[in-house]
């Protein structure tokens, strides 16, 4: 498993881990200040094409961070699945962005830069911060009026790679080249509109531009690890868990977990549609094993108290799906012990179990002949936990979630 990001809470404890954020924030504030972002006239100049510092610093920081991040994920040092990628709510984002753009040019700051401005005793910065508080307050009071819109056009963890249906490498290269072209354009504006001598930016910037383009091509060249690559890195450790049967959960424990209000059990049925239609456990979601990987983004956004329970007829297909999800760092994934066949034999009446049993059923096929496609209408699909006295060994242990569930503005 990729060593980064770190599980700070586990390493340092709950409150001490916040010191790391304090240090990162310090560096952030320091850099914003030395860039001149505490000064509103420097920020506003961007929108009159006189001085393009905002564009250079923002877009420049984005491409530097992007190349380093995807270089690190490509080398297997960093796990992209554990990184917070702002979920896309397209229209609220665009409308909110436009309002912020108006606020930017009227007020001269954005929230982060106004903090730095206020910290250096600029009175306009302090007024802006007070305005931000009022704006946030007004939002809290009014969002209830249009909540449907606020939750609309949700696309989940939706990246440029998904949008253009391509890999990370080509996107990184294109974004870097677009940024360099934008810097060229910005310097033209500074030269002709801002009447600024460009020599002050130093000749080294040409080498830096060449350097980041080379790095972008390196990212393209090393590529990103596939699911099989990721599994290969952790196979030793995880295959032992399979052999020790640590991942197989007795139906009794599942019933118990479903009763627990602090835990959400997501049952995932990875069998064929036919088998699913014949019989499935109530509330089990049908995701065929070969499609499970496309749900990784969604699963990783679930709260930390979610347990994913995979099931196939026996255990084989579900275990394969388990490997796929574990390789993608989905937390708290388990497999139903003995599969659906075991579930049916425990929770159906004795008569059905003996009469409907298929003799010598092939591996990972249904072991029972149902009279018709019952789906979840069979009594065994929704057993009453109070009726069954089942003995089992508890195995589910909730993992502390690595990587945050919310972004810097949540």
């Amino acid at each position: 498993m990729a060593p980064f990001p770190l599980n700070l809470t586990e390493l340092l404890g709950h409150w001490p881990s916040y010191i790391v954020y304090l240090v990162i924030g310090f560096a952030f504030g320091y850099v914003l200040e030395i860039a001149g972002f505490g000064n509103s006239s420097k920020l506003a100049a961007q929108f009159y094409f006189k001085e393009m510092t905002v564009l250079k610093v923002m877009f420049g920081a984005i491409i530097v961070a992007m190349v380093l991040i995807f270089g690190a994920t490509g080398l297997g040092l960093l796990d992209y699945n554990l990184i917070y990628v702002n979920p896309t709510y397209l229209w609220p984002g665009i409308i909110g962005g436009l309002i912020m753009g108006f606020g930017f040019i009227i007020g001269g700051f954005c929230p982060g830069t106004s903090l730095v401005s206020a910290a250096t005793a600029k009175l306009d910065g302090i007024m802006f911060v007070l305005g931000v508080f009022l704006g946030i307050f007004l939002f809290g009071e009014t969002v209830g009026l249009y909540e449907d819109f606020w939750y609309s056009s949700y696309m989940g963890r939706f990246t440029l790679m998904d949008l253009f249906n391509t890999g990370v490498g080509p996107i990184v290269v294109v974004v870097v080249i677009a940024a360099i072209l934008a810097f060229l354009g910005a310097e033209m504006a500074e030269k002709y509109i801002g009447k600024m001598p460009l020599a002050q930016f130093g000749r080294w910037r040409y080498s830096a531009a060449a350097g980041i383009i080379v790095l972008a091509f390196v990212v393209l060249f090393i590529g990103q690890p596939t699911n099989a690559d990721k599994w290969a890195r952790m196979a030793d450790e995880q295959e032992t868990r399979i052999e020790n049967r640590e991942i197989y959960i007795h139906p009794g424990e599942i019933l118990h977990l479903m009763e627990d209000p602090k835990i959400t059990v997501k049952m995932i049925d990875v069998r064929s549609e036919t088998d699913y239609n014949i019989f499935h456990v109530l509330d089990a979601k049908h995701i065929p094993a070969d499609q499970i990987q496309s749900y990784v983004g969604e699963f990783n956004l679930e709260p930390a108290n979610t347990v994913f329970m995979l099931m196939s007829n026996d255990e084989e297909t579900a275990t394969e799906a388990w490997r796929t999800l574990i390789a993608e760092s989905v937390p708290n994934v388990y497999v139903l012990e003995g599969g659906v066949n075991n579930w049916v034999s425990i929770f159906s009446d004795k008569e059905f179990v003996t009469s409907a049993q298929v003799p010598d059923h092939a591996a990972d096929t249904l072991a029972f002949a149902f009279p018709s496609a019952l789906g979840s209408r069979s009594p065994a699909a929704d057993p009453n936990p109070d009726v069954y006295e089942l003995e089992y060994e508890s195995k589910v242990v909730l993992e502390l979630k690595r990587g945050p569930a919310s972004g810097g503005c949540g």
Binding site: Y18, I19, Y21, L22, I24, G25, F28, G29, Y30, V31, E33, A35, T53, V57, A61, V64, A65, M66, I83, Y84, V85, N86, Y89, L90, G93, I94, I95, G96, G97, L98, I99, M100, G101, I105, I106, G107, F109, C110, P111, V116, T120, A121, L123, D124, F128, G131, F133, I136, G140, V143, M155, F158, L160, F201, G202, R402, P404, G407, G408, C409
Partner: protein
């Protein structure tokens, strides 16, 4: 020795200027250099913690503390606020609060080291200080409102989400620049 060491001489001059209140603020750094530094900070934030930078979330939680002190019953009735401060939840028990605190301290320390801490109002030549304060307040209100609506500000959404290639963050970033450019001409008297 009769001649002063040049370093010492400079220190004396600076000290004299300080005494006379003529502190010279140091110039801002090269924007490309700042970009590289900011990029490295952003990368380290993702690399170590798994999330990027942000600011409005921290301000939000600080505001909620105030609201919870003034009107706890109100906080418990607004779904948007319950998440942060409902019942016995502590809205300050969140990493973003500490990041925001660090940002303020970092900005202050840099301003202090570079002699840029000065009580002043930065404004265009044609408007009064009072107009500038009012405009900053109005702009801040729009920013704060928009940042919550868009689920992120320039740092948490555009910078952080942009670097990890979120589609929504890129759309948001173009919207911010688009909004500011669209209005810039009409408010040019505020700045020039």
């Amino acid at each position: 020795m009769t001649t002063l060491n040049p370093n010492m001489e400079r220190n004396l001059v600076t000290a004299a200027n300080d005494a006379a209140g003529e502190t010279q603020a140091k110039p801002y750094v090269n924007p490309y250099f700042a970009a590289i530094l900011l990029g490295i900070v952003l990368f380290l934030a993702f690399f170590i913690t798994g999330s990027g930078l942000g600011a409005s979330g921290g301000l939000n939680r600080i505001l909620v503390v105030a609201e919870d002190l003034i009107a706890p019953g109100h906080v418990d009735n607004v779904p948007y606020l319950i998440d942060m401060a409902g019942g016995d939840r502590n809205p300050l028990d969140n990493w973003i609060v500490f990041l925001t605190l660090g940002t303020v301290i970092g900005g202050f320390v840099s301003g202090w080291r570079n002699k840029r801490i000065k009580v002043e109002t930065v404004k265009g030549p044609r408007i009064t200080r009072e107009t500038r304060w009012l405009m900053a307040f109005i702009g801040g209100t729009l920013m704060g409102y928009g940042a919550r609506l868009a689920r992120g500000c320039t740092s948490g959404q555009a910078l952080s989400g942009g670097a990890v290639l979120s589609v929504g963050s890129w759309a948001f970033m173009f919207a911010v620049f688009g909004g500011a450019y669209a209005l810039a001409y009409f408010v040019r008297r505020l700045w020039y």
